[in-house]
């Protein structure tokens, strides 16, 4: 039974990671077309550093992902704290609204935001992409914080107040540390979602600004530049290494929670 399980899990992982392996292999392919193998090369990694268009798109992508995740975390945390203190009915209503961008089709979210931006005369560009990303990121942050919020013991907070702490001190010293794991995973989730989004950006981007996703979409038509494979490989390997490092260091904090 154990071997059956292992084989099953391995097969699923093979399925999930086969395309990624393909992309990594392609990043070393000397031939420019996808369908031919032209020998091993590192040249795409070298030319990647010269490719301003891709590097620009990378900067935009990371900046948008970071800013939107950060702002969404702040708004989301405040919202979660506020929702916790609400009457049941209002809370259910607000959670319902919160779930809309998550449940709604990306294409509808993207189009609805496009219509909004056009109607208020906003110029499409960095700002519109950022606003859209914050909007679809907030639900993920709230989703990650809410369970933590429910586990909070209100008497600890009150005890802090009784011991003479101000509300601010009590919030930052007592409540925030307890919420932190939730906020962090919310931030990470938001960051990842923003990084991976194509559809919403597709509808809300303007002239001359591209994230990696929209850049790739235009390149799909003309043939992907091999530098793009190189960049993805670098990103992937970096994250992989970070992951292993985090998992190797014994995490004592986790246990106390």
């Amino acid at each position: 039974m154990q071997t059956v399980k292992k084989i099953y899990v391995s097969l699923i992982f093979l399925f999930l990671y086969a395309p990624i392996g393909t992309l990594i292999v392609l990043s070393f392919n000397a031939s420019k077309t996808r369908s031919k193998w032209g020998g091993f090369t590192m040249q795409w990694y070298a030319s990647l550093l010269q490719d301003e268009v891709i590097l620009d798109a990378l900067t935009t992508t990371l900046l948008i992902a970071f800013l939107s995740a950060l702002i969404a975390s702040v708004i989301g945390t405040i919202a979660a704290v506020a929702m916790n203190g609400m009457k049941r009915r209002t809370r259910t209503l607000l959670i319902g609204v919160t779930n809309i961008p998550m449940l709604n089709a990306d294409i509808v979210t993207g189009i609805s935001l496009m219509l909004l931006f056009i109607s208020i005369g906003l110029r499409f560009g960095f700002g519109t992409i950022l606003l859209s990303h914050i909007t679809f990121n907030i639900p993920y942050v709230i989703l990650c914080i809410m369970p933590r919020m429910k586990q909070l013991n209100p008497s600890v907070y009150e005890a802090a107040l009784d011991l003479g702490a101000s509300h601010i001190t009590a919030f930052f010293k007592v409540m925030l540390p307890d919420l932190m794991p939730g906020i962090l995973s919310g931030f990470l989730m938001a960051f990842t979602m923003s990084l991976d989004d194509f559809i919403i950006t597709h509808f809300t981007k303007g002239a001359g600004i591209d994230t990696l996703s929209t850049k790739i979409y235009t390149e799909v038509k003309k043939g992907i530049k091999p530098e793009m494979y190189a960049l993805s490989t670098i990103i992937f390997v970096t994250v992989l290494i970070l992951l292993f490092l985090v998992n190797k260091t014994p995490d004592k904090k986790e246990k106390t929670n």
Binding site: I12, I78, V81, T92, V97, L113, I138, L195, D196, S232
Partner: protein, 281 residues
Amino acid sequence: MSSSMKKLHSLYTDKSGKGKLLAAPYVFWSAFFIIIPLCMILYYGVTDKTGAFTLQNITAIASIGHARAFWRSLLLSVVSTVICFLLAYPLAMILSGMKEKKHNFIILIFILPMWMNFLLRTLAWQTLLEKTGVINGILSFFKLPSLRIINTPYAIVLGMVYNFLPFMVLPLYNALSKIDENVINAAKDLGANKIQTFFRVIMPLSIPGIISGVTMVFVPALTTFVISTLLGGSKVLLIGNVIEQEFTQASNWHLGSGLSIVLMIFIILNMIVSALLDKED
């Protein structure tokens, strides 16, 4: 800053209704960026180019071309959701039976592929499945018949399952790992066999996970236009493609909005079902 924080805090602890103010930033945000945009889609959906009220854009779903695309989207997304579920449930059970320590690691392994761009990952499947692609290269090396699924609905289902599987695994895994061992042991003590335990205890307890998993796979699968473009060779028209083209090519926003409303009905249905199930708990 600090004084406003103080105010916010006193409001938070005060449950007499003023706590709403703390929620104000988010309430305004969601009103402005979620509710109003949806109302605009509604408005466009029920008006024509002159601004007069009409239901034509919504009933247009019944026209032959749209109906065919919509029916195909429904079919493909249901099939993908079922496949995702069948693949993910055993996997989630195996994973939730693993050691406590590996929790985060498992979740991250499923999120990790998302760091490789979604379009590139899907495009990689094109490279794998193409007539002259990697899989066919391997097959022909072993003198096996070639695989011809690129540019067919099968390739699209494969792309959907591939892209959305993590969204099914994670909620199921969450729900399953929350089930108390003792409940299962109790069932066994009371004489239930493995199959009974599964259908009477484990399955019902994992329903919240199933609902969110199914939603998170079904909705994007129903509405995608990217996967069908990349893996379907633009031969397989889905309702997502129709809507996208109405906005970006035919520039008929009214029709595009009308068709979006039809899609939203499914999402609202889904929300009602989850709300009902939530109340039962």
